[in-house]
């Protein structure tokens, strides 16, 4: 990069920064409406949703429609990547890493799976939720394909299973939303049938259900992305 170009880039970036600072200062601060929403959520969220974690309460109850949009974005990304990258080659790849690594991860992987299930199922009680736990579920598939070779991943957790989990999760999420229309009145309303004591595992209405559905959907989607990215190496290694 020449020096004049460098200086031009620096000037443009600093102008962008100045405009961002000016615009962020113009955002209204603590107006009445923001105060009203804040006080409403902090006072009533536990009673209205039954979820102790307010972030999960906002993400999967008050703003569940936005979460539907996010998972649609992931669905679109998965579809695009599979369309662009997947090739019908044999699922044979390298034989994984050494014996020591294989044994170590053989002992570790069940605990990673348990941790992801814990994060998904306790999304309404402790930090975490469907999205974070789902990404850890997807990481298990990545561990399988890197450490054990992707033939192992193909046999244990085949692409058909992943696709079924992904589309099934998306359909169940929309189904929960439609059930809100049928039972309550509006799309993705909290169905209040898990109504034990607040703070126990089976509370907070449909939030744990949406968490589980989103978790499996996101995990399977990210596993599909990674699998279709490494798929191409098989052909190269078969040639060699």
């Amino acid at each position: 990069m020449s020096k004049a170009k460098h200086i031009f880039v620096v000037i443009v970036l600093s102008l962008l920064g100045i405009t961002m600072v000016i615009n962020l200062n113009k955002i209204p601060g603590n107006t009445d409406q923001i105060n009203f929403i804040y006080s409403h959520i902090t006072n009533n969220a536990v009673l209205e949703t039954g979820s102790l974690n307010f972030v999960t309460a906002i993400l999967y109850d008050y703003r569940a429609y936005d979460s539907l949009g996010e998972s649609t974005i992931i669905f679109g990304a998965v579809s695009g990547i599979v369309l662009l990258l997947s090739r019908k080659t044999l699922p044979v790849s390298s034989h994984g890493l050494s014996f020591i690594v294989k044994r170590t991860f053989g002992m570790l992987t069940p605990f990673i799976f348990l941790f992801s299930l814990y994060i998904i199922s306790h999304g309404h009680l402790s930090p975490g939720g469907g999205f974070q736990g789902g990404v850890i579920l997807g990481a298990i598939s990545i561990i399988f394909s890197i450490v054990y070779g992707s033939e192992f991943d193909f046999k244990r957790y085949s692409p058909t299973t992943k696709t079924l989990l992904e589309t099934g999760g998306a359909l169940l999420f929309i189904g929960l939303g439609l059930a809100g229309i049928i039972f309550g009145g509006y799309f993705l309303e909290n169905l209040r049938f898990l109504n034990t004591e607040i703070g126990s595992l089976l509370s907070a209405g449909s939030i744990p259900l949406i968490n589980t559905v989103i978790g499996f959907k996101i995990g399977a989607g990210l596993a599909i992305i990674f699998y279709s990215m490494i798929q191409k190496t098989f052909k190269e290694e078969d040639k060699l």
């Binding site: 930090p127 975490g128 990404v135 997807g138 990674f226 990215m229 490494i230 190496t233």
Partner: protein, 86 residues
């Protein structure tokens, strides 16, 4: 705690600069991973454990794996291209 916060911010900016200043891609990827680990600590200090968990899982774990895969794919593709030219 305030000193720790400022130190972490300085480290954050340094790792971000180092990540774009190296020519070798693998070094940049490792610096991006360190960047997200520092960002995770900052989120935890600012009382946002949900975002911290997401950042740790996605930034430090998934991004590194996917970038590594892409780098290896690109290098493998370049090698096979040169082979076909020869």
């Amino acid at each position: 705690m305030i000193i720790l916060k400022y130190l972490l911010v300085i480290f954050l900016v340094t790792t971000a600069y180092l990540a774009i200043s190296f020519k070798e891609e693998l070094v940049s990827i490792i610096f991006l991973s360190i960047f997200s680990i520092i960002l995770t600590t900052l989120y935890l200090i600012h009382n946002a454990p949900d975002v911290a968990l997401a950042e740790a899982v996605i930034g430090a774990g998934l991004n590194t794996a996917i970038f590594m895969t892409v780098i290896s794919q690109v290098r493998e593709g370049k090698k096979s291209m040169f082979r076909e030219d020869d």
